[in-house]
Each structure stands twice: as structure tokens, then as C-alpha cells.
Subunit: 244 residues, 4 copies
Amino acid sequence: MVPPHTNAGAIYLQDTRVTFIHLKQPITPMPPATAPFAARLHACGTEIAHTGAELAARGWTPATSSNFSMRIDDGHVAVTISGRDKGALTADDVMAVGLDGRAYVPALRPSAETAVHLQVSRRQPETGAVLHSHSHNQTVASRLFAAQGVIALQGWELQKAITGYTTHDSKLDVPVFPNSQDMRDIEARVDGWLDAGKPLYAYLIDGHGLYTWGRSMAEARRHLEALEFLLACELDLKRLGGIQ
Amino acid sequence: MVPPHTNAGAIYLQDTRVTFIHLKQPITPMPPATAPFAARLHACGTEIAHTGAELAARGWTPATSSNFSMRIDDGHVAVTISGRDKGALTADDVMAVGLDGRAYVPALRPSAETAVHLQVSRRQPETGAVLHSHSHNQTVASRLFAAQGVIALQGWELQKAITGYTTHDSKLDVPVFPNSQDMRDIEARVDGWLDAGKPLYAYLIDGHGLYTWGRSMAEARRHLEALEFLLACELDLKRLGGIQ
Amino acid sequence: MVPPHTNAGAIYLQDTRVTFIHLKQPITPMPPATAPFAARLHACGTEIAHTGAELAARGWTPATSSNFSMRIDDGHVAVTISGRDKGALTADDVMAVGLDGRAYVPALRPSAETAVHLQVSRRQPETGAVLHSHSHNQTVASRLFAAQGVIALQGWELQKAITGYTTHDSKLDVPVFPNSQDMRDIEARVDGWLDAGKPLYAYLIDGHGLYTWGRSMAEARRHLEALEFLLACELDLKRLGGIQ
Amino acid sequence: MVPPHTNAGAIYLQDTRVTFIHLKQPITPMPPATAPFAARLHACGTEIAHTGAELAARGWTPATSSNFSMRIDDGHVAVTISGRDKGALTADDVMAVGLDGRAYVPALRPSAETAVHLQVSRRQPETGAVLHSHSHNQTVASRLFAAQGVIALQGWELQKAITGYTTHDSKLDVPVFPNSQDMRDIEARVDGWLDAGKPLYAYLIDGHGLYTWGRSMAEARRHLEALEFLLACELDLKRLGGIQ
């Protein structure tokens, strides 16, 4: 039995977790009708709304573009509802979706790119938050490097902001995948990269923006901020004629 | 008879609307002396002032440039008064003008480009708001593409922010018309484009800025934000030597 | 006799004015000991401080650079004290200086470029405010166009923000004078330009920034905002390879 | 004996100072257990936090990069703790370190570049504050000028914002040292430059950002703001094809 929901801030995940430990793959998520689930969904929504306001203030989410998600539990993700202004989100602009893509409130439509968010969470289960943004630098870099399919970052101290990187001498590859209105095309590109055994911390879609993620929202944001900075530097080096 | 004006937020448009349904073309607008009309004008002024403050904060309305309008009813438009600082507007900086250009307070002078606002509302009657802004990117792009007369946007996901566009693969043409201090020259260019049957969502005037519109102020702003973003990206691709 | 100073906002300029009408050249300013003079100085200081905060917020006054002045009366100017942070001015950071350059509080040092402010006020007596700022675009443009000595602005709608300009087809020349630590060198350049009968609304000093002015602070700011915008556009057209 | 700590704002440095006058080199700092020392550490922490918030707002400290320090007394420096968000610092995110590098709370790790901060304080004992930031312009300039090892600034009025410079005609050399994850490599480069008798007000590390300092935090910030401005101008002149 679920205790009455008296504290929106409290998160009790144990009972739902137990359920999922036994289910594994294929995932058949439970209906999110429990109070702990609702509390956790609300907490994710609040953190996503806060992040949206900050990214929008930097101009990285123009014209209702971009979408964000956080892991609720082993089988569910909280994701932004389609078409909302990302600078004015509240917890109510975020909805629960199962890892298999099933939405719990069929009247609401999750962000069009939800499938790609779910793919990250399935393939890298430690992922806690996924951010898709659409800054000027991300968009221009994606067009400029689309033909060669990858941006190779090297020699920047800020590469160390990506978890696992400890020196500017390492190489950080950010792939650029072709854009498609069919998310399965993009999923196939991501699967191809990962199945080839290459590390993946972020990717660009041509003319469309960046996906990156982290174990927590804080880590995802640090990755986003570092990649935005590095892409801006790479573009500017090109404008300046490159390193002699 | 007009009910007493007890709630500035309420909008009763029926009676004036009835009048206009019978009048059609040529439009002879009624004097805006009714309380519902005044309330609707005030509501438009408030929304325009709010929009002006946000666009000015982004630097898109330098040195008292730019002007904005909203549809009041079938025969009237609310438009900014000439020469006011667009970042510090109040509802009192907006005045009513008939679709035929007649101003109701002859002592006030509407924005110099009012005729162009009215033309959009006459030719595309579903228009609810028209925005003319004057950002750096809009102005530079207008000079750079003036000779070829059009900027062809293609391959950008954000084209989907323009109502009616559903894929980045479509082509979005933004014409660039020559500047003139005589608004009839600009009206003739717009008429020429529309009479040729070409779709028109926005246009640039050489050295002068952008016009765009939407069914509501929210749609007009989404169009403006998307077009500003796309023009900035196009310019930057050019600075970077273009797509190889 | 001077009435007791009971209202800091009130400005009574008549008595000092009478004095100056009879004095003409050479100017021997009266000591600014009257209450009306003090009130007017304080009002100028408040307006200068407000302007400084807004220009600093745009990054146009880096590292305590820039200085501002306003006309107090026929014989005196209020000017910023040397070395103060232009983003954090109060009325107390502004001091009175006679048109002949005499400071009334010898312990305070007015801005190093005070002589150039006074020259504008002497040669164009209708001047109410002079702004010297130091933005990125102003500084870069001054270096880039120093050899040819002038930036010729043409074809921009925003030229109409300069008082007296009514069309984008006119030509607006902004001279670029060589920098010097001796203000007399700069004064001589300005005199040379004016003595040749050329109109002057603003000028750049090489590597140093912009001077512009207006009959009121509002007009001076509109001129500054328009010129900053136009210089930024000219530079960007150059980055983009110019108009084909 | 130490008086009871009743006023966090008060700073009594005499007793600790006496100790250090006698110790000289090698420095064996006293434990920072006295109330005056704690008060001074707290005051430094507050000033560093305030500075961090302002630099972060300008985007100069992306993704938890950058670090700052202030001199506490003859033998100690207050420095930011590793990995904290530089836009959200409090006095508690700053710790005391001896000039010999000894940290007083072994459980805390000072910023990775602490050794470089200490070197500045040892070689230029009048230094009161050291700022390491990581702006776009600093990072791009460091890559672009790494091969020639120095950026020579000349002809900019704002060079006068660097203490000791009185004319734009002087030359201000900012060296660019290779990056290394071993701080001793960077220290050796700095020592080499200083031992050659060359003036040093700031230096860049390739792909990594800028170090600058001043006798007070205000002077260090003025130096940082001026150098950021000058580097941005130098880069932009290059984008524009340089001075003809």
C-alpha cells in the first residue's frame, strides 16, 4: 500500500525498484500511480524546469526547440512535453515515459525526439540526465563538419570537464550524424557508433543541435557547457585561419 | 449600447465585429469610442509593450528603431507610436489605426512603417501580430543578400518553427526588398511577390531589418526568434567559408 | 541673494546665466557656490551615473575607461572624475569644470580627456551631453580605418537616428583621428575638421574609442547606440567579404 | 594571546606578521588557528566569491574551470577549493595554503593550479590577488599564438589600464607557455621568463586560459578586464585581415 502523499519533496523509490529488478528486459513498466513515483517525477520536473530556464537564458533553446530528460527509476524517464517554451517550463511540462517509449497520459505528446533520449538510457544505464540543445555554435558546427562526420577535439584543457578525461592531450571525438525526421534513422547511427566500440559522450545532428548526458543533471550540464565552449573555440580557430 | 467599462481585462468584440462584417471593402472603420474597443486596444498595447521590452533586451531594436502591431478587430490595428523607445513602451505608446491607414487621434503619428503593417493584415487576414525588428544579423544579412534578392534557407531543423513547415528538407525563401523612404515602393514589392503566388512568411528590407508575423503574438515571436537564429547561422557559415 | 537650498531636484539657472551673458569670451566662470548651481550639478551627476551604469552593462566602458559630461550652464560642464569605475558612478563621481578647463575643487582631477569634452561644448554650443565610450567595435573599427582617416556610412536605415538625417541614402562620415596622450593634438584635429566646414556628429580616436554628443543626454545616447550598431555592421560586412 | 573573535569583519594581522618577519625563507607557516587569521581568510573568501560570481556571469569560467587566490599574510594564500562552480562560490569554498604549498585541512584539495598561484606570490611579493580565468578569447588566442610564444600588444589606449603603463605607444608582451598537467613545467617557464629580466603582468597557457594579478583584487580585476578586451581586439583585427 502506498502511504498518503504528504511531502512532495520526499522520494521513496524502493517499492517500484523491487518490481523492476525482477522484470529486466523486455521492460514492461508499471503504471506510475504510486505516490513515490509521482514525487520523483515531480522532483525531476522541477530540476528540468530549472535547467531549461538557465539554458534558455543563454539562447541555447530558440523558438521552443530543445528537450530534456531525467531518469525516474529503472524503467522510466521524465521528459519534456512537446512544443513548450523551454525557458518557461514548470514541473507540469514534464511527463513520464517508459524506457520502451510508452507514455502514461496518452493525451499528452512527449518531445518528438524522446526515442533518442530513451536510447541513451538503455545503452548507457548509468545515465541520469540527457540534454538536447540547439545553440548557434552547435548548429553551425554540425553543418560545417557534417561531411567528415566527426569533430576531433584535442589540445584543450577543458576536455577535462568530460568525465573520464584527465589531460588536454587526449582526443575527444564528437560524431555528427545526418538529420532525419524519422528518429529510427538517428538511433541506427548511434547504435552503429556504439557497436563499433567507440566511446560516446555526445553527438551532433546535422543542422539540428547537440545531445549530451551525464550520471546526474549536474554532470550533464557540465558536459554541455564544456562542449559548447569547445565547439565555439574550434569554430573561431577556423574563422581565424587555424593554427599555423 | 455599450456596457459600462468595469474591467479593463475583458474584451467584448461582438458589436464592433458585426459592423465590419457588413462593411467589407472599402473599409470605413467606426470610431473606436466603445468601451470594448478601448479594452481590446489596451490589451494589445500591453502585449506589445511586453514584447518590446524582451526584444529590446536582446538588442534587436537599437536607437528607437523597430515597430510592432496587433490586430484589434476586423478593421483596426494597434500600432506603436513613432519615435518611442521600444524597450520602455507602455500601453499608452500604442494607438489604433484603421486598416485603410486612418489614425483616430490625429495629433499622434503612428510608426512611419505603419502602411507596411496594414498591408500584411489586408493580404493575410488571419494575421494577429506583425513585428518589425532591426537586429545586427537581420541588417547585415539584408545588405549581403540584397543583390540576389532572396535568402534561401534549407537544411536547418529550426525551419520547423515556421508554421506549416514539417521538415528540415523544405526550402524557406526570405526575400530581400530594396529600401525606400516611400512605403509605397515597399508595398509594391510585397504585392509583386504575393501576386506571383510565392509563399511569404517574412521579408527583409535592405539595410533596414526584418518583417515577420503570425496568427498570434506568440506565433509572430516564434517566427522572429527562429528567423533571427537561421540568419545568424547562414551568416556564420559564410564567415567560415561555407559547407565543403 | 541665493535662496536656501531646500530641494535638490529644483534647478534655478537664471542668476548664473545673467552673469555669463555679459562675460562672453574669454570665459571667467563664477565659483559654483550657489545652491541652484549645486542642484544642477547634482542633477547632471545623477543622469551621468545612470547612463554610465547602462553603458557599462553593455561592456562599452572596460577597465575604468570612458568618460561623460553634461552642460551645467553657459560657462560650466559636469564631468566624471578620473579613474572611477563607470559602471558604479554616483553623483559624487562627477565634478564641475569651467569651459576654460578650470576645476573648482583642485584636489580632484577631472577625466584626462576633459579638454576634448570642453572643445565640443565651445564649438557646438547647443551641445548638452558628450559621451566617450570604448566598446570593442569602436576600438577595432578605429584601428582598421585609421589609415584612411574616415569611415563613410551609407545605405543604413539607422543613419536616420542621427539628428538631421532623414534618409538611408545620405552619407555619414565618421573621422578617425590619430591617438595622442596630449589632448591638444586631438583638439587640433577636431578644429581642422570643423574649420574645413565638414559636418561632425562623432569621431573615433585610433585604438581608443568614440566621442559623440547631443543636445540632451537622450539624444547623445541615441547617437551612441546608432553609431555602435552601424560600426558593428560595417565591420561584419568586411568579415563577410563585403557587398558583392 | 588571541582576543576573542567578536567581529568577523575585523582583521588583526600584527601577531602573525611578527612571526613571519623573523622566519623568511624557507617559510614554515604557523597553523591558521588564530581568530585574526580566520577572519582574514573569511574576508578573502568573501571577496573571491564575489569576484567569481561576476566573472562567471561573463562566461569566463566555464564548466567549473578557473581558480582565484588572495594573499592572507606574509606566509599564506587563500585559494579556491578544487572543482567548485566558480559562479556559486561562498567563503567556505576557499581554503588557506602556505606559500610552500602546505594545505591546512588535508581532507580538502586546493585547485590543481595552486602551485602557479603561489609562484606569483613568491616572485612578486607585492601581489595581493591572482586570477586564472578561461574565457573564449583567452583560450582561442592562446592556441593561435602558441607557436610564436608571445602576443605583443601595441597601439591600444587600454594598455594604460595595466599598472605602470602610461601611453598606448608602449609595448605589452603577454607570453604564451605550453600547457602541461605537471605544474612544475609551467613554473619553469614562468621562472625562465622572469629570470631573463622581462616584465610580466600576465601570461597565457596554450589551450588553457590566462593568469594575471595585482596588488589588490580591484587591480587584478582591472588587469583581467583590460587584457580580455585587448585579446578580443587583437583576434578581431586578425579576422578582419589586419591593419592595412
